[in-house]
Symmetry: C2
Subunit: 369 residues, 2 copies
């Protein structure tokens, strides 16, 4: 019917004088095969240059050795790190990983719908995206294991951090350095015109910021909170607003490192010294943070991918996941961008040394449910 593209299991069977069943067993390292037989088969495989067909195996088995990872804004540093973490373990377990990058709700829904089709994926990792009850139900109906990373999915395994606590951590760090007037730069809930993917991290971090302020008896000045679409350019503009205030903040907490970079940039533009005149704290600890000497709340990005993937593998293996909620630890990494109010800069080797010993405050890490 079609041109055959290579030797099949039948050819191997014929060549080695055994049945296809035996060849299959050898391929899959199943037991109940005599050593001699195995060798014969292996020789035939080698000689014929036989390569098993994933497709046929998967169809026959009823389930592909493929998992999908649905991840928004792939090019953001935090997303890639998560992806890389997941890929490394999926790889190790022999899964093919198809990556679905989503940049809009439409794209998200498209991918999600496609993934519940038959034989599409043996499991799915969903990153940062809140799913509707209906979407979750589709996966359940299709019996496709689903785990979430960086987003809470009730009833399903999810690996997350406590964003509120993170916001508190950052704010308390700043307050411990003597800052009393602390600005916040974060994401704004977008308009209907640009419907978003439902990220809540920034909001939660803001909540933590406010909580910490309140707990310390500090007023939370609405003027000090600036929100806008995610991205360094916006963050830069927002920070510029903050710095232009009659009484500007002495510190700014940005909801992400990317945004913190915008803040740094704004300060540089305005000739404001970091950390002399302004302390900045970010969130995530992406790779650029270290390079820029950015103080930040570190979350284990790569690990989140690793954990999510490992849990998915466990489920696909048939294991039960308990507890469903896995909380990853957060900690402050104190670098050059934050210092005590009115800090006088030190240059050269001294500062370098200082940077080598970041102050660290731990939090979380305890799984709970």
């Amino acid at each position: 019917m079609r041109a055959r593209s290579g030797p099949t299991i039948a050819d191997v069977a014929a060549a080695s004088g055994v049945g296809v069943g035996t060849v299959s067993r050898v391929i899959n390292n199943a037991e109940h095969v005599r050593a001699g037989t195995r060798l014969k088969v292996l020789a035939a495989i080698e000689q014929l240059g036989y390569r098993p067909s994933h497709l046929a195996a998967a169809l026959s088995r009823g389930r592909p050795r493929t998992v999908a990872i649905v991840i928004p804004h792939l090019t953001r540093p935090s997303a890639v790190e998560r992806l890389a973490g997941a890929l490394s373990v999926l790889d190790k377990h022999g899964y093919d990983t198809v990556v679905c990058n989503v940049g809009s709700p439409a794209q998200r829904d498209h991918h999600l719908a496609a993934l519940t089709a038959r034989h599409r994926a043996a499991g799915v990792i969903i990153v940062s995206l809140p799913l509707s009850r209906h979407q979750v139900a589709e996966f359940r109906a299709a019996a496709i294991p689903l785990v979430a990373v960086d987003v809470s999915l009730p009833g399903l395994p999810h690996t997350i951090i406590d964003d509120v606590a993170g916001g508190e951590l950052a704010t308390r760090h700043l307050m411990s350095l003597g800052h009393r007037r602390i600005g916040f730069v974060g994401d704004k809930f977008p308009s209907k015109k640009a419907p978003a993917l439902g990220f809540r991290s920034s909001d939660r971090r803001l909540a933590g910021y406010q909580r910490a302020l309140t707990a310390a008896g500090l007023p939370s000045d609405a003027h000090l909170v600036r929100l806008g679409p995610h991205g360094p350019a916006t963050a830069e503009a927002l920070a510029a607003q903050l710095l232009g205030l009659p009484v500007p903040p002495s510190a700014i907490f940005a909801a992400s490192d990317t945004q913190a970079m915008g803040v740094l940039s704004a300060a540089e533009r305005s000739g404001i010294a970091i950390p002399g005149q302004l302390s900045v704290v970010g969130f995530d600890d992406i790779q650029a943070a270290e390079l820029l000497g950015l103080s930040t709340v570190r979350q284990p990005l790569e690990d989140s991918g690793v954990m999510g993937a490992e849990r998915l593998c466990a489920i696909m293996r048939g294991d039960e996941i308990r507890p469903l909620r896995q909380l990853l630890p957060l900690r402050i990494v104190h670098r050059r961008s934050s210092a005590t109010v009115g800090h006088r800069p030190v240059t050269g080797a001294t500062e370098q040394a200082g940077q080598q010993t970041p102050t660290i405050a731990e939090l979380g890490g305890m799984p709970c449910d």
Copy 2:
């Protein structure tokens, strides 16, 4: 035998009172189906909640609708941008994309070998990785379309840039600003202990740098060339060496933006003003470059992924690709990090305005073969 997981084409056929062949035609939008019949079938599909099985279709067709992209160091900004570009077009064409991140030669060989197995991928995009003649032959033997991005693959379609010309571009830019003592920070050919993936970009950019220097009648001082393992930390150290020289360079060209960031960082540590005392030019124009005001040689990263993917799709569609070599354009983006020798800084709005009008020098863009 196995628990059936949902309605099949046969169920749809039965429900709509037609044969499976007809259903198949409907699913694939094939012709020769009466409109009425089509509607009936569509109704049955809807009613049964039928989802076609990719696996079965692929097996039957002899070729999956899956392509693989093999890409080293996924977490590097340049790699992600390429990946994102490729994903967007593959997605649009309805392909699943499995991503193979490679961090070592062993991993590379592992993935490459796996991909030549039967029914594994309908096509492969290989990014930045030089392939051995043998590896290429394997793909050819397996009749798996292969295209390269950011690496030249003789006899196969490849989308690349002219790294030598890029190196020249950067160097000439610096020279045009009056710089005569220009340092270079790039990748060193790693030792056997840490066998690398064979990237040659840094070397070629260095060659361009030397060529430009020579063409301008400037001596190329070996002390001004510093090489080390890729990464900002190393670059920072190398730049520090350069800055510590008895007669330090007035400008540094880094083989990548990531390394340029290390250079910037080193300058900041040493209290050296950018661009007052030191001009810096990078390569790639990753997203962070704009934010940092880093002058750089821009290469179309995302586009390279787009182009590679489009060419792969074309081949899978049966088209011929001519010419094989596709050269993407390069251009200098002049930002704050480079200026004339002895430049006096301007602050505030003035500088902001200046940054809005980067000088641009074009090069390449013409396909050739």
